[in-house]
């Protein structure tokens, strides 16, 4: 085919009607390649696939690939794919999926059991429910609030035949199209104005709260993706009102940014940073907010922190360059209000100060009362973090940074001499605060302020101040040593580390020679020399000095921090990690330590894989006395709540670990036969988790082995309360009952076991044995004169074994059949007795049982055993035995019976002959003359049953 024809054909193709047949010539590589008409190509492909013109697999493939280039979403390209199986994935991928699924299954199992245990709180929740909708409103289907459509259209609903005639394409176009109509305004469903931003979750359990809060957050995410930011904020707020979580705060911040609600966004960022100081997203978002609020300096600070952690973060890089550009555009004003004090103190040429002035100035329109503004003050901990970073990476931040920490502390030292290292640290902090306050340096300004105070200010004051300082007394140091130390400090400040090192070494030497007993001062000297070593890059020596300092003063902050840095620089990350962690235990607000821990964690995971923690040396536990908790301002209620949640989760986890350990120990003791030891362990376990069925049964075993049957029985009862079908618990209770010589209870327990699992041979054996014992005991009881229907129980167990006021005292009596004669005190006993009687169809026993049961207790006892059989059995018992003896009691029983839960449902399921019994009973009852009830009462009652 020549190019010309192709061209003409192509021109034609624009006018081709797609319903027509595709000419054979078009089924050609050349034509297909040049064809740009997607619809026509689809048609060609269809023809090719149909095979009407012959089968050309390669041409089909070519056509497909060409079409894909033009329109990758074309429907014709959709192919049916068989379902994938495990085999169609790589091994890694599949095992990952399977592992994921497995962990989820385990988790859900736990969730489920905890849910089950909490089910008793159901009623509470119900009270909180909205009322039932106005009853049985019915409205017709065709009544419509919308005026009827154009009469030319079909009246709806339409008939089958009518919709056969529809041209679907046309209709679809009409729906999507723009045909104009009149009539009322459009309804726009923007849910958020009516959306409550608070959820009352007070009645929910922890599990439910967690699920609910995640769900609300997810809804927020979805709204966010649909660019419905206001709705997203509303849902995030709902999530936060249930359980405050980091991601929800973080996401709400982003949504607020998109809505340009800068202050709200800032508040959320700050909350995140309060909970997790190194959170990258929050920092980035805060930078964005600062940027928009015109606070470029702060924005740049945050961005630099982000970039230090994630150098390849594109968003941060871009924003930083933007911010810096804006910063340059904004010219600083030399003297702004409210800066006076600072300017008086600081040299005016200080360019750091210029930056600061500008930052202050630009921030002014937004935050007029900066030093005390709520947001700023809560920002403070994080700001200090920035300073911490400055200590950590001094060389990237100009020469101001490193000095600040060092000299600052020593100024504090000079001013108020602290005896212990704890105090020493505190004074430093207070000094910082003083600097921040008086300098009005707000927050970030603290770095430059420190710098100017120490680095520049001191020389500016001249030598006079210096000499005074040099002779300042230093704790217990004799004047010559104090002078050496101060000289060292000064040299260090000036960056002459090697000289400072020498001075400190001299001081240390002199100190040791003089034999003064002041470990604090020696510790400081070592620590300072360590700093010099660190600056010189001599990490080995630094570590040695720090270790010495720590031997003198364990858990002192600075040597630890320095040693950590030294370790880190030597790439001994594990030791560094441990030291940073220790630092954090002493003072959680050391930002540099937080950052480093995060960084090292990542490195360690890379290095050691997921089990990196196991390779760590032990992290020493810092005594409370050495810990310093300092936070500015009371944290907001939500943050407190979040912290409490976190603490609760931690505590739970700890308890969990301890629990498993105890349980394991207990099990080991059992294996070794040391039952009393095991007993102790299990008891402790139960203190941690009183709802663990397995522990109860285990402890019951121990009691059994120790022949403490009463306790064993109590434990089994407890276990059965948690898990009503636990086989082991039944079996062990049977053994306990046997030990207590309560053979009837024993046999009923054993029967329960066998009913659940007929293969338990031990139970069968026991049952045989117990039946014999039961016979004997009954026979002996029969010989005793206790003949009449006893409401006074005969206790055959040793009296001292049953604690006073014990809930149950059961006994049995010998008749022709097994006669149940007991005073049930709870639903479980009642149920057992009832079952025993029913199994032998012994209505007399049941009557006895009912006679000894208070009528008003019947519904409670019966609630779990309510079924058709039981009801008809009870009815029969009442009818045959009790009615002649005590019709009043029968009436009262009947009067209470129908109040049992689910009674009406069960009643409906009664068989015909069972109903007959009921009718009979009421007939008999109405025939009885009584003072307690009239015929009318009986009739009323009967209506409830029949």
């Amino acid at each position: 085919m020549s190019a010309d024809t192709v061209f003409s054909l192509q021109n034609q193709s624009t006018t081709i009607d797609y319903r027509g047949k595709v000419p054979v010539e078009h089924l050609d590589y050349g034509y297909i390649e040049k064809c740009k008409d997607v619809k026509y190509l689809e048609q060609i492909l269809r023809v090719l696939r149909s095979g009407d013109e012959g089968i050309y697999p390669h041409l089909i493939k070519f056509c497909e690939s060409h079409l894909e280039k033009l329109d990758p979403r074309s429907r014709v390209l959709r192919k049916e794919t068989p379902v994938a199986t495990a085999a169609s994935l790589s091994n890694d991928e599949w095992s990952q999926i399977v592992d994921d699924l497995k962990t989820w299954q385990e988790e859900t199992k736990k969730t489920e059991t905890s849910l089950k245990q909490q089910s008793m709180f159901d009623d509470l929740v119900k009270e909180n429910m909205p009322p039932i909708r106005g009853s049985n409103c019915s409205f017709p289907l065709s009544q419509t609030s919308v005026p009827k459509r154009n009469p030319s259209k079909h009246a709806l609903p339409c008939d089958y035949r009518e919709w056969d005639k529809f041209d679907v394409e046309k209709e679809c176009e009409e729906i999507d199209g723009n045909s104009v109509k009149n009539d009322p305004a459009a309804i726009i469903n923007t849910g958020h104005p009516k959306l409550k931003t608070k959820v009352d979750a007070s009645l929910l359990t922890q599990q439910e709260k967690l699920l609910l809060s995640t769900r609300e957050k997810d809804k927020g995410n979805e709204a966010f993706r649909a660019k419905d930011y206001e709705e997203a904020v509303a849902y995030y707020s709902r999530s936060l009102s249930i359980i405050p979580t980091l991601p929800a705060y973080n996401n709400r911040a982003q949504a607020e940014i998109n809505l340009k609600h800068w202050h709200n966004a800032m508040r959320d960022c700050l909350r995140v940073l309060e909970l997790e100081p190194g959170n990258m997203k929050a920092l980035l978002r805060r930078a964005k907010v600062y940027n928009h609020m015109g606070n470029f300096q702060m924005a740049a600070e945050d961005l630099r922190v982000v970039l230090r952690e994630e150098p390849q973060n594109a968003a941060a890089t871009q924003l930083l360059s933007e911010t810096e550009k804006k910063m340059k555009e904004c010219q600083p004003e030399p003297h702004s209000k409210g800066k006076k004090i600072l300017i008086q103190e600081v040299d005016e040429e200080d360019d750091n100060n210029n930056d600061e002035t500008k930052a202050e100035h630009t921030a002014c329109p937004v935050e007029p009362s900066q030093p005390v503004g709520g947001e700023e003050s809560s920002a403070a901990p994080a700001e200090r973090g920035d300073m911490g970073n400055a200590q950590k990476k001094p060389h990237s931040r100009g020469d101001g940074g490193p000095h600040s920490d060092f000299t600052n502390s020593h100024q504090g030292h000079w001013r108020s001499r602290g005896g212990s290292s704890d105090k020493y640290k505190v004074t430093q902090e207070s000094k910082e605060k003083v600097a921040n306050g008086t300098g009005k340096s707000g927050s970030t300004a603290s770095v430059p302020a420190d710098h100017s105070n120490n680095g520049k200010e001191t020389p500016a004051r001249g030598n006079a101040g210096e000499t005074v300082n040099l002779d300042a007394p230093c704790g217990a140091l004799p004047p010559p040593l104090a002078r050496l130390k101060n000289e060292g400090n000064l040299l260090f400040k000036n960056g002459q580390f090697a000289d400072a090192l020498e001075k400190y070494s001299q001081a240390i030497q002199g100190f040791i020679d003089s034999g003064i007993d002041s470990p604090e001062d020696l510790c400081i000297l070592y620590s300072n020399r360590a700093a010099c070593y660190l600056k010189d890059g001599n990490s080995q020596e630094c570590i040695q000095d720090c270790t010495r300092a720590l031997e003198l003063q364990s858990f002192s902050l600075k040597p630890l921090l320095r040693r950590a840095m030294a370790y880190e620089s030597m790439e001994r990350y594990r030791q560094a990690y441990v030291d940073y962690k220790t630092v954090l235990q002493i003072d959680t607000s050391v930002q540099s330590a937080h950052d480093s821990v995060n960084r090292i964690t990542r490195l360690l995971i890379e290095q050691d894989g997921p089990e990196w923690r196991e390779k760590l040396p032990d992290i020493p536990l810092v005594p409370l006395s050495a810990q310093q908790h300092r936070r500015e301002g009371p944290p907001s209620a939500e943050v407190l709540k979040a912290r409490a949640e976190k603490a609760a989760i931690d505590a739970e986890r700890k308890a969990e670990v301890r629990f498993t350990a105890l349980k394991q120990e207990g099990n080991d003791f059992v294996k070794k036969g040391q039952y009393s030891d095991a007993l102790g362990k299990y008891t402790e376990c139960l203190k941690l988790k009183p709802e663990e069925c397995a522990i109860y049964t285990n402890r019951a075993l121990c009691y059994l082995k120790l022949d403490r049957f009463t306790e064993a029985k109590q434990d089994c009862d407890a276990a059965l309360k948690v898990e009503p079908t636990n086989k082991k618990a039944f079996y062990r209770r049977a053994l306990a009952n046997k030990g207590l010589k309560d053979y009837l209870a024993c046999s009923s327990d054993l029967q329960e076991v066998l009913q659940q699992d007929p293969n338990v041979q031990e139970a069968e054996k026991e049952l045989e044995e117990v039946t014999v014992l039961l016979r004997q005991s009954l026979a002996s009881a029969n010989a005793s004169p206790a003949k009449p229907r006893t409401t006074v129980p005969i206790t055959e167990v040793e009296g001292d074994e049953e604690p006073a006021g014990a809930p149950a005292s059961e006994s049995s009596r010998r008749g022709e059949d097994i006669i149940v004669n007991l005073q049930p005190t709870d639903a479980c006993q009642f149920g057992q007795a009832l079952n025993a009687a029913r199994c032998s169809r012994n209505t007399a026993a049941c009557a006895d049982l009912l006679a000894s049961t208070a009528p008003e207790m019947l519904p409670k006892f019966l609630s779990t055993h309510l079924d058709g059989d039981n009801i008809s059995f009870i009815i029969q018992a009442l009818d045959y035995h009790l009615l002649e003896k005590d019709p009043n009691l029968v009436y009262q029983h009947l009067n209470n019976l129908h109040t049992t839960d689910r009674f009406s449902v069960v009643l409906m399921l009664l068989e015909k002959n069972e109903r007959l019994h009921v009718t009979q009973l009421f007939e008999h009852l109405s025939a009885v003359q009584s003072t307690e009830f009239t015929k009318n009462d009986v009739q009323n009652l009967a209506n409830k049953y029949i």
Partner: protein
Amino acid sequence: MSSPLAKPQIIAHVQKSLNYTVFDTKWIPCSAKFVCMGNFPRGTGVMQIYEVEHGDAQLIKEVEKPKPIKCGTFGATSLQQRHIATGDFEGNLNIWNLEMPEVPVYTVKAHKEIVNSIDAVGGLGIGDGAPEIVTGSRDGTVKVWDPRQKDSPVANMEPIEGETKRDCWTVAFGHAFNDQDRCVCAGYDNGDIKLFDLRNMSLRWETNIKNGVCCVEFDRKDISMNKLVATSLEGKFHVFDMRTQHPTKGFASVSEKANKSTIWQVRHLPQNRDIFMTAGGAGNLHLWKYEYPAQRSKKGSDDMDVGVAGSVNLLQNATLSTQPIASLDWSPDKQGLCVCSGFDQSVRVLIVTKLNVV
């Protein structure tokens, strides 16, 4: 869909053959268990509970009921109780405690004929307001029930006297974002879709999609109506943007054809409302993603807001069987886990991967 590797995969994890026809499957919330409902060849109903464990589904419990069970839902129960509400062939609505499934917790003769569809809201923390169950039946009525009220429905939507009774095939709750607002959407065999506003007790909107409506579902029940998907007998489905309702044009929609065969069911991913799966009559599943337009509403020529529909992207498809897949349910707890059952008398647990990256 940046690269083929990022595409979600539909993986058959467990397949179980059953000795009865299964009509509906539902995950039990907060567990790795699901319930299958159906009927035995001998004409009785059955509920089975399976637990997914070690790559297999273990039968935990089986209960036989006198009447075949057509559909079920957990939507109106609390997380602790987790009672299932079912509709059967005789028109009964029952609520069962799966721990003790012998006797129903609640029972009512809801309809004269088979209950085709059931949905519920207000439980499980999904949807504010009272727990309510809606049933749609062949007798043409749609009824709303409150499990706390015995015997009579709280709302009843029925054709007026003399009107032809259409078979209601599907019902769905939506718009339950606060205590008062709530909507029920019903689809009928003649292609009618009706939206009932339960707050005002009125018909809010209706349309016809020309073919029997097999399934309707809101993308979320517990938010202000956002999207509604309706699937039809001849293989098409429609996605309505429910945010902007034009007085005459109603809601904007986009339609897409998955297959030539009936789309039996549509289910939105519980973790992402813009992803949904359709189950087709030829035993295939299609996973879709809805893309919002740049502006969700615009001014029409009559100076009124009119909605703008987005577009629908096919993410993945898979053919499971030659028989229709009649029910599908995503696990509310585990993203990507779903269970589906078909008329080939088998139930399958599927895993859909990479849903978090699309």
